[in-house]
């Protein structure tokens, strides 16, 4: 009846299974070929081939075997080798068998690859009226009911097909095998366009306001396309209502040598039999505390296996079940427990003792040979998602498990086995009711459909959990082979050790023993640990001990899934100006300024940055140079109160600025500290164009809106961001007038007609409308030419053409920094750090004495008028070639270097200057303006650099260059 390559595979006539027998596929485990069928898991294929043993245990190297058929697996953990990147710690019970799958078995711990994971991961954001998690009978019923009401429904299940536990059993619904009912339901859901069914998808977390994260596996299974674009997808789902039909997990039993290969959950045995047509053993003892394992025994007997004994802890199991198994050829031992297992790499037999009402062993004993021990310690409702989302659980002594607490609200939408309802009729009834209720509450009024007739499943009688089967000779403290968490090799002795150190809380014991900290996260070990603890503490019930905290993710997922597409070049927006490709063609080296790409310098030939910047600066001071300044922030400020508004925002006055003129402005926070600066133009009586720093644009607009909306709603002012309406170039240098004159033939650019801080509107060559201003951030004669953004490219081209005979030189941010520092112009954020006032910067001239503005009152606080506040000064290293590092601290030359060393200040900007033919710096020095001419020390790299304090204006202090050369 068995095939030779799959000796444990049952014939289709005995068990068809949910597998495709027309195809054979192969995986490789530890270099050995493992054949199987589509529909197999890696574990079921291994079992079909007679392999039950997997990698030895993590700490003690004990032989271990496949223990479960689900995500609670503690032993059969593998490292996947065939994917885009080796992936650690996958349960063989959850991996779908496919051709080419290659794994190695692990001993409880995997390894991280240094290889880059090139597989695709992405995200999807959807909304739903009703999300149903779990597609067992309760979940399917809930989805049907909600969908019939017209709601948008999403049904999520971690397996490849719908059905849940129904696929493991032999139940009938409405007179037909349950699989027919599932098939009809699946079709009905598929045909409803408001329903989305996600299989191979695990709800990882359930958060506030019904927000769920769901991981969908789109690759790594036989139904996947050959090379899918996306391997895994993270669904972000916002639901109006959530129905949790998450099922239950079977508990192991804690007895001596309960970890031997061949010891397997009774439900797993049944799943392998019915779902995969695999018989994991020929001679199986069943050890149970409740009814469900009787179905396993009956299925085993029905497929030709021998069942030497059913060991039940209960004195009086239901007569119906006892008679059923007796009729099938097995007998039940009541009030008994397995106390020991024999065998080495596979269980060969068990020893059974009587167990009395107090849980003590009686004198009665027996031994049974077996190659499989199916255990059932009861069931844990899968309350993880419910508890994560804030639901409380309570111990239910009738079902012997932690169940959702409370009757209404959120708890009402936990259905089926997830709330301890284990009979099929009950699951269907709860599913239909909750689905209809969820649809109704989300606006789709509907009534629950009638529950069909079911058989093959009855309401369970009361289980009798036994948390610890006593050892035949040793005390609990010595139970070092009674495993509670097989993955962590943690035992009853470890729990008692934790208690011996004085711990009582389950949270402490968990962390001390590491129980429940492995891959299964307590799904298998958690409640048993609570039970052992409850016994040891003589607690009335596990409920008095409580559970540890349930946290997402429900099962482990690759971190790459959370990154999604936001890696590499898609990681963060890259902002470019319309002239970007021209900069690229000119060989620019770019600098990141916020999200912007700005040219830092334009090397010619083999120039390094130093040489390029000196050349660019020279061009600006002696010829003509051009910079793309399209990144500057621009805000149009309109309204009859715009003058008053700007007066309040800026430290200096703008209300009296004439139309057609521009002014440099500085703004402070309410604390008097410099916030941003820039030039604003008055376009009309009621209209200004403010410019901001490149990095400050968004912040300044928020700042303006905050004051307008919260403090001064009475002002008639509107702010509109126009940063990207404009493209602009700064044309700088003695020859800039010639270049701009050629660019704007209609404009009189002479010093007399076009004064400093004025602007004019004109039309450039080629018919491009422009606004040209005379502003300078270098001290040189300079113009800023603004055009509509879409003309940016044309503007750059025209400017380069207009200056081609003058060797017009594009310059980057680095040269711009040097040029402005030579003039002592600050950069907000470089020479300021949020603790610096305009007065500290020596910019009292920009602080009005005659009007109120944001920060004004702070500027007169005692701390802000201290004489020893840091002040902006120039710094000249005595050695003209030494470049001070920005950020270097400055100390008095004679000060002791034993910490704490008093600091005099620090360097904020430092450069080589072509104009000065030396290095220079700006810095903030305590009382600096009173110390001009004094010498300080900068301890740098183990030596002292002597630095003279100077005025911050190094170049053209009288401002003679601003209007350019005399025109002849």
């Amino acid at each position: 009846m068995m095939s030779s390559s799959n000796p444990n595979r049952l014939n289709a006539s005995v068990r068809p299974g949910r597998i495709d027998r027309t195809r054979t596929i192969h995986a490789t485990v530890d270099g050995r070929a493992v054949p199987g069928r589509p529909g197999d898991t890696l574990a079921s294929a291994m079992l079909a081939g007679g392999d039950i043993e997997v990698g030895p245990s993590i700490q003690r190297g004990r032989p271990r075997g496949v223990f479960s058929a689900d995500c609670t697996e503690p032993n059969a953990l593998v490292q996947r080798l065939d994917g885009d990147c080796p992936e650690p710690m996958l349960p063989a019970t959850e991996i779908e068998l496919q051709d080419g799958l290659r794994v190695e078995t692990l001993s409880g711990v995997g390894w991280l690859s240094e290889q880059r994971d090139t597989a695709g991961y992405d995200k999807k954001f959807v909304h739903s009226d009703v999300v149903v998690v779990g597609a067992g009978p309760a979940g399917i019923a809930a989805s049907l009911a909600a969908a019939r009401g017209g709601a948008r429904v999403m049904l999520v299940d971690q397996h490849r097909e719908l059905g849940g536990m129904l696929l493991d059993g032999q139940a009938h619904i409405a007179g037909h095998p349950a699989t027919e009912w599932i098939g009809r339901a699946a079709r009905e859901l598929a045909e409803n366009e408001q329903v989305r069914v996600l299989t191979r998808a695990t709800a990882l977390g359930c958060y506030d306001h019904n927000y769920l994260l769901i991981a969908e596996r789109r690759a790594d299974h036989p139904d996947a396309p050959p090379s899918p674009t996306i391997r895994q997808r993270l669904w972000h789902v916002r639901a109006k209502q959530v129905v949790l039909a998450t099922g239950a997990h079977e508990r192991p039993l804690v007895f001596a040598d309960n970890d031997r290969p061949g010891v397997m959950l009774a439900s797993a045995v049944r799943s392998y039999l019915n779902r995969h047509a695999v018989l994991p053993g020929r001679e199986a003892v069943v050890f149970t505390t409740s009814d469900s394992a009787y179905s396993t025994a009956l299925d085993l007997l029905g497929t030709g296996a021998r069942v030497p004994a059913i060991v039940d802890t209960r004195p009086e199991p239901p007569t119906r079940l006892v008679e059923q198994v007796r009729a099938a050829g097995a007998h039940v031992v009541t009030s008994a427990a397995v106390v020991a297992t024999g065998g080495e790499h596979r269980v060969s037999g068990v020893r059974v003792r009587g167990i009395d009402g107090n849980g003590s062993l009686t004198e009665w004993s027996a031994e049974f040979p077996c190659d499989l021990l199916a255990v059932c310690g009861g069931w844990n409702p899968a309350v993880q998602l419910f508890a994560q989302s804030g639901g409380a659980v309570r111990w239910d002594p009738v079902v012997a498990g932690f169940v959702p607490s409370g009757a209404g609200g959120r708890s009402a939408r936990v259905v089926g086995a997830a709330r301890g309802t284990y009979d099929l009729a009950g699951c269907l009834a709860q599913g239909f009711a909750s689905g209809a209720e969820a649809a109704t509450l989300s606006g789709f009024r509907t009534a629950p459909p009638p529950v069909p007739q079911v058989d093959g499943d009855r309401q369970a009688s009361r289980p009798r959990p036994v948390w610890l089967v006593p050892d035949e000779s040793r005390s609990p403290e010595e139970c070092t082979e009674h495993f509670v968490d097989q993955q962590r090799d943690a035992t009853v002795a470890d729990i008692h050790h934790a208690l011996g150190t004085g711990m009582r809380s389950v949270q402490h014991v968990k962390r001390y023993t590491t129980i429940s900290t492995g891959l299964e996260q307590g799904k298998s070990s958690g409640v048993n640990a609570v039970g052992v603890l409850a016994d040891a503490l003589s607690a009335g019930s596990p409920g008095e001990v409580g559970t540890t905290t349930f946290r997402p993710p429900y099962t482990p997922v690759p971190l790459a899934l959370f990154a999604g597409r936001t890696t590499g070049r898609l990681y963060d927006p890259v902002r470019t100006t319309p002239m970007h490709r021209q900069h690229v063609e000119a060989g620019a080296v770019f600098e990141d300024v916020g999200q912007w790409k700005r040219p830092r310098y334009y090397p010619r030939g083999n120039e390094d940055m130093h040489a390029a910047v000196l050349r660019e600066c020279s061009a600006a001071r002696t010829g003509v140079a051009v910079q793309d300044v399209s990144t500057l922030g621009r805000i149009e400020i309109v309204g009859s109160d715009a003058p008053e508004f700007l007066d309040r925002i800026y430290t200096n006055g703008f209300a009296k600025l004439a139309v057609g003129k521009a002014r440099y402005g500085m703004m402070c926070g309410a604390d008097g500290m410099v916030l941003d600066d820039g030039v604003s133009m008055r376009l009309a009586e009621d209209r200004y164009l403010m410019s901001t720093t490149t990095g400050g644009a968004a912040k300044v607009l928020d700042w303006l809106e905050e004051w307008l909306q919260t403090e001064w709603p009475e002002l008639d002012v509107y702010c509109t961001s126009v940063t990207e309406q404009w493209a602009a170039v700064a044309v700088v240098g003695p020859d800039s007038r010639t270049v701009v004159g050629r660019l704007a033939p209609d404009l009189d650019v002479s010093a007399e007609s076009f004064g400093f801080m004025r602007f004019h509107e004109t039309v450039l060559v080629g018919g491009i409308p422009a606004r040209i201003s005379r502003v300078s951030f270098s001290g040189e004669l300079a113009f800023e030419v603004n055009v509509a953004r879409w003309y940016g490219q044309a503007l750059w081209e025209a400017t380069m053409t207009a200056g081609s005979d003058l060797d017009i030189t594009p310059y980057g941010t680095e040269a711009m920094h040097v040029l402005r520092a030579e003039k002592g112009f600050v950069i907000v954020g470089q020479d300021t750090d949020g603790t610096v006032t305009p007065v500290d910067l020596g910019m009292d001239w920009a602080v009005s004495k005659h009007k109120d503005f944001i920060g004004k009152r702070s500027l007169s606080r005692p701390d802000l008028v201290r004489q020893d506040r840091v002040q902006l000064v120039g710094l000249l290293p005595t050695d003209t070639t030494t470049l001070l590092p920005e950020g270097a601290h400055l100390v008095e030359p004679d000060v002791s270097r034993r910490p704490p060393v008093p600091m005099a200040g620090h360097v904020t900007s430092s450069y080589h200057s072509a104009a000065l033919e030396r290095t220079f710096a700006l810095g903030l020095i305590s009382g600096g303006r009173q110390r001009i001419g004094e010498v300080l020390c900068a301890p740098v790299g183990g030596r002292d650099v002597e630095v003279e304090i100077t005025s911050p204006v190094f170049y053209d202090p009288e401002g003679a260059r601003r209007d350019g050369p005399e025109q002849g």
């Binding site: 898609l570 309109v638 309406q725 044309a794």
Partner: protein, 211 residues
């Protein structure tokens, strides 16, 4: 009093300068064409450059808003709605903020019209035609593409033709405007983000390339 300023009045491109204009995505037109697909799971992406756009601020419910509405021949839109059609529309951006959208070359006229209507009252009208470019995303899979980047509910029961929203696609602020049931969308994005947004969208569309 608002003085119409010369530059704004001429961003509507006098004949001579039109050829000098470059849209942020013109260099990617062929690529967008190549990466667009047709069929039952098709999705197409192309740029609609140079649309006229006026940012309009009007105190809600005041005399100014009815004057502006009359001057445009369109009611000002209700929350997250678009008034008009793809050739002449007003999009709701905020309680006192709208975006007027019209074909290329209409900015000057619209600006004058609106400012005339606002004269003597409160409000502003600013030409932002060059501030954003427009992407047109359409085809049966267009919504699925957006759902990878946008956390809004774009299901037809919740977002349909004539709806608009200021939202994020990935980390990019856009104005999203659904035009028709196919579905077809306009995505209006600030020019500096356009290249990056296209990278994001093409990446999200890759799944549909193989049909």
């Amino acid at each position: 009093m608002t003085v119409l300023n010369k530059v704004e009045s001429e961003t509507a491109a006098p004949e001579t300068a039109t050829a000098a204009r470059h849209s942020p995505l013109e260099h990617r037109a062929a690529e967008l064409e190549r990466r667009s697909t047709s069929g039952a799971r098709g999705v197409r992406l192309h740029e609609e450059p140079f649309l006229s756009q006026i940012n309009l601020r009007t105190p809600p419910g005041g005399v100014e808003s009815s004057a502006v509405s009359d001057s445009l021949g369109l009611p000002l839109p209700t929350v997250n709605r678009v008034s008009g059609d793809e050739h002449h529309a007003v999009l709701w951006l905020g309680p006192d903020e709208s975006l007027i959208v019209a074909p290329d070359g209409r900015a000057e006229h619209l600006l004058r019209t609106v400012r005339d209507a606002q004269r003597g009252g409160s409000g502003s009208a600013v030409d932002v035609s060059a501030n954003r470019t427009t992407l047109r995303l359409s085809g049966p899979a267009a919504r699925e593409v957006l759902e990878k980047l946008c956390s809004l509910d774009l299901h037809p029961r919740s977002f349909g033709p004539g709806d608009c929203a200021q939202t994020l696609l990935g980390r990019v602020i856009v104005v999203l405007w659904q035009l028709d049931r196919e579905p077809g969308y306009r995505i209006m994005v600030r020019c500096s983000f356009a290249d990056y947004l296209v990278d994001l969208l093409l990446d999200a569309m890759a799944e549909f390339l193989d049909g």
